[in-house]
Subunit: 322 residues, 4 copies
Amino acid sequence: MIGDAGCAILRCLLGLAICLLPGIRKAQAVAQAPEKIIIDTDIGDDVDDAFALALAVKSPELQILGVTTTFGDTEARAKIADRFLGEVGRAEIPVMAGKATATKNPMSQRRYGDGGHFAKASHGDAVEFLLEQIRKYPGEITLVAIGPLMNVGAAIDKDAATFRKLKRVVLMGGSIRRGYGDLGYTAPVPPMPEWNINILNDVASARKLFAAGVPLFVMPLDSTQLKMDEVKRAFLFSQGAAVTDQLTVLYHLWGQETPTLFDPMTVAFVLRPELCPVHGLHIRVDEKGFTREEPGTANAQVCLDSSAEDFFKFYLKRVAAR
Amino acid sequence: MIGDAGCAILRCLLGLAICLLPGIRKAQAVAQAPEKIIIDTDIGDDVDDAFALALAVKSPELQILGVTTTFGDTEARAKIADRFLGEVGRAEIPVMAGKATATKNPMSQRRYGDGGHFAKASHGDAVEFLLEQIRKYPGEITLVAIGPLMNVGAAIDKDAATFRKLKRVVLMGGSIRRGYGDLGYTAPVPPMPEWNINILNDVASARKLFAAGVPLFVMPLDSTQLKMDEVKRAFLFSQGAAVTDQLTVLYHLWGQETPTLFDPMTVAFVLRPELCPVHGLHIRVDEKGFTREEPGTANAQVCLDSSAEDFFKFYLKRVAAR
Amino acid sequence: MIGDAGCAILRCLLGLAICLLPGIRKAQAVAQAPEKIIIDTDIGDDVDDAFALALAVKSPELQILGVTTTFGDTEARAKIADRFLGEVGRAEIPVMAGKATATKNPMSQRRYGDGGHFAKASHGDAVEFLLEQIRKYPGEITLVAIGPLMNVGAAIDKDAATFRKLKRVVLMGGSIRRGYGDLGYTAPVPPMPEWNINILNDVASARKLFAAGVPLFVMPLDSTQLKMDEVKRAFLFSQGAAVTDQLTVLYHLWGQETPTLFDPMTVAFVLRPELCPVHGLHIRVDEKGFTREEPGTANAQVCLDSSAEDFFKFYLKRVAAR
Amino acid sequence: MIGDAGCAILRCLLGLAICLLPGIRKAQAVAQAPEKIIIDTDIGDDVDDAFALALAVKSPELQILGVTTTFGDTEARAKIADRFLGEVGRAEIPVMAGKATATKNPMSQRRYGDGGHFAKASHGDAVEFLLEQIRKYPGEITLVAIGPLMNVGAAIDKDAATFRKLKRVVLMGGSIRRGYGDLGYTAPVPPMPEWNINILNDVASARKLFAAGVPLFVMPLDSTQLKMDEVKRAFLFSQGAAVTDQLTVLYHLWGQETPTLFDPMTVAFVLRPELCPVHGLHIRVDEKGFTREEPGTANAQVCLDSSAEDFFKFYLKRVAAR
């Protein structure tokens, strides 16, 4: 049993916290202009990008200026994004393709875009688009970066001053204290770069981003191993709504059992920052792709822990909403 | 070890059979006019109706004159058929609704049609449509009956003479020697009417059909417990084609694990009769819904056994074909 | 974004709470005599009883005085408990059978005990045993009641004064504000007695318990819909330890997909009360089996909410420990 | 429709075949002495070895002289076999370990044997044991070879003349016309050595075996991609018998979804040769591990096709039998 004194203090503190929360929530909901976002994604390999996009299109608080694709066959990825946006009634959102890069990745969801449904006539250049939008809305745009960082690196190379006029970058990437597979009940798993793929696939660009001087919010493996288990899938995939139907189809093309919703936490963070509390850290991306916590002034606000339950209560309600 | 003599005879016979088969196949494929069919379905509850429809729309040998819905909320079922046909590019196929009947059935896939995608402006009367088409094409139409037999009974009541001008009825229904759950490795399960739902839900109409004097081909539980297991689902649901995407979505709305493809065997039988070899039997439908084999002249050609493997090789190849 | 001031206060409070927790934990672990418990269970139907027993046998903080079986074929249940305890090396724990009652329940895990492995020569009477142990250890025994309440009711009828000398009863049962299926992301589901089976199967005994004047801790559906999903099953069922092997086998006999660990929360509460925080409530069990919250002095300490994540972190680590 | 003439001939032939079969079956069942077998296995990696062992221990027609382990950590494999045999009441069957070889294989089911339950005091040498038994029972022993061929190669090296006194070798290995993943409804998959692991892991020994002059029966990938799907698993894993409980536990340690019962076909072939009809072929094992069909006198009887349905009807009934 918990000692009575400790218990009393704890209850009191939690009580206070609970009292404060509604006020915070209300302040947040009142009268905000939609948040302008651009989503930079490698949709088509792991299925979590699609789940992130789904959350974004179901959120009226967001104004999606565009979707940009990165890594490998960016044109094929753009067609996947086209179809997804078309099927859910958001064909007006522009889709731009980054520069193609070499990869052996088979792209599990390639067939989804192959038929050309809702395919846009052409896809402009992702980096041009990104810089152009920043110039148009300086200090207003949140870049949600959920793929390898080729487009980000190229934008910094091309015009670092403009890039710095982003309101912020919210990044899925890194593995600070916990590695992949550490779910809190297993033996601890140390961070290993091979799972840290958004960083690993373009280490040079990652290093540029951490040095860019733009407000940077990082959702690493530590807080994003969010398992979309059979109970949650059964709920979501039986909604019969446009967005959930597309997720159902993409899930099966992906072909594995349990999606891990790494990427959607970035969008969730934009909408509900309390779902992934951040702390200022100085992160060094080393040449092997490790993201190491080091002494020094903070260059990123990093979320090291989250409640999967709270995340899914928010995510599932929102994406299933009619 | 098999005795040498027996073995030799057997090999010889099987060899001969194999030699003959290609000739038979070829004869069959050459120069046939498409088979005219009407599909009478309770699509929306069990998911096998959708799998039957999928096989039909992927088969150029068939001319689908129309789809008629039966049992319960026939209008909701018609909307499900509308959307399915629309999504797969076959919106031109007419969909007619039977008379609604009372049922407590929640209709697992109702949401699929709720949004009204591809919904036709209105659905004509199923029985009128059926009789009208028979008059137009006497002796040419195969009625594929994969739902409870309300429409069939009503058509016989209204104009038995016209009904008899069907080329044939191919029915999923009945349980002659094997009951549900008997998969060949368990203890035998006797037939029980509660699983024999296409008959049980309208016994009176079933009795009319077996007495109608129309050529009747019956695919009972004995030959249709065709399990769409995880391996087959993974194959089909990752095709990313229009038809397989719709099956994927409907499968999840259905919400159970393993579909049993009872109904698709009727369509497979029309296309490849060797997949479900029939024998003339005299079947009596008793008042409780049992389908009893009795002495007497055959009133139905009944398929009592089939190879699930052969069925699925045909079914999966056909539905996944591009 | 959360306002800066609110955020700062919240962080401060959470920080303080986190600082206090280790102290509380340590105090708890120091120098306690093992907690004497008796587990009254309907093991053999739903599989969660076995998961509760597994937690108990893996917990050195507990001294399991005995296991008593209740509801239906209590002798068959006792054999299941015998085998489980024997297989995990705890054959010394006595198993007593309650009075058999009529039920149509097929008992999914009956086969587990059928072979008679580790079966004790005979099972004494559950109610006699319970009262005898209370007399031996007055004020010391926690009764963990995870089945319908026949034994509890019979013990109160026989000797209410002795029953009141239990240290406490920790009960899985009831549905106060949330019904079954309400997982926090669906539409709210109101409490319904049909899911509240430990109460419903013997309402009279439940009413006696709530009026018995014994300290009563209640874990209702509100806080015990703890889903043992595919990720957690894969972890636990691949441990290859004696206890997890038995859970694996029982899980498959049960034959469904996702176990809900209702019952294990009672044992977890005994070990870690902070996993299911309780509040004093006055609960009235009505004649239909509803457990209604009413004004009045508290007759039970009820846990209305819990964190499934925290529960499973504790449960899985403990049961998988070597 | 099939043309009437062709159909008549076909029916007649099939009718004849069916008439002959019972006679053949009967002849086979009468009055045979048990077949002496030795099972050479890499139990512990893929789970199909355990399913093969399960079939053998449930078959009174077989006298299992011993189990020998091959490939990698053969001692750990021997402990797994020890426990399996002990748990199912067959601890008297000797288990011998082959020479350990280097491998990076993690051995999915290692934990099963780690506890040392039923572990024999020591394991004799597999090759010695094999040669000794052949000398004892010349011309009587069937070697069921379901692992990489280290022990087979070593036995030939040591005493080829004795090895030739085996009655026969029944081998799971090779991929003649079909590769892995070709289930009859996908695009054809050509044979590739990487899946042909029993051959690939010791090509030199495989070549010796095909040249040994011993009667050799080969069950390659062509006829052994037998998928143990969810329906079959649910049936088998809910039997609650000693053998099926062990398979349940090993299945979960293996940790994948769908076992492919490659190896059990060898044991099934010994019991029911009609389940995998063989043809004389000349097979050349090339240096890369391909098993190529070439002109020349037959050096193996190879089964190129089988009915998975017939296999499972036999397998499941037999292993689930009480």
